[in-house]
Symmetry: C2
Subunit: 99 residues, 2 copies
């Protein structure tokens, strides 16, 4: 999943604010199981994205379980658009080479 992780995470959170576990779940489900991120992949990445100012987080307790809810910052939204453009350019390039 190398190199495209941030794009996936940002996109999943852009749909609606989520906590880490739910992000992984959402990605797994909307990709029909094709993309199944380990927790050890998701949590450090979210932490990093927050450190980079692309996400902000807040704690919420639901049914005795604490959740860290992430949402996109303005910079995060901009980054997502950029990631989307890069993704398009990348797939077009690969397509051009491999057809």
């Amino acid at each position: 999943m190398k190199g495209h992780l941030d794009f996936l995470l940002l996109a999943a959170i852009a749909r609606e604010p989520r906590h880490g576990y739910a992000v992984a779940e959402a990605i797994r489900e909307s990709s029909d199981g094709a993309i199944d991120l380990a927790e050890g992949t998701v949590y450090p990445a979210l932490y990093r994205l927050e450190g980079a100012g692309l996400l902000s987080s807040s704690w919420k307790t639901v049914g005795g379980r604490r959740r860290r809810i992430y949402r996109l910052t303005r910079r995060g939204r901009r980054r997502l658009e950029q990631e989307r453009n890069e993704w398009t350019a990348f797939t077009n390039a690969v397509q051009a080479v491999t057809t």
Copy 2:
């Protein structure tokens, strides 16, 4: 370019047998500069693919310069098809998550 390198190399050589330098050049040109592989990326990868039985190579001297020409083996062709399928599945999955 992580994870997709083999696909690109196999596809470029599948079009026609090439030597390392020409492979990088072909990929750069057909991707319109978007994918520009360093030689330190290409040569070890070709060597690895040959070791895996997906490519075979032969030396040729053209104008005093020696070239190592690579071509796909039968296994290489099969692998290319597999890579193509995986690429399609992967892009579909990312598309599903990010739209």
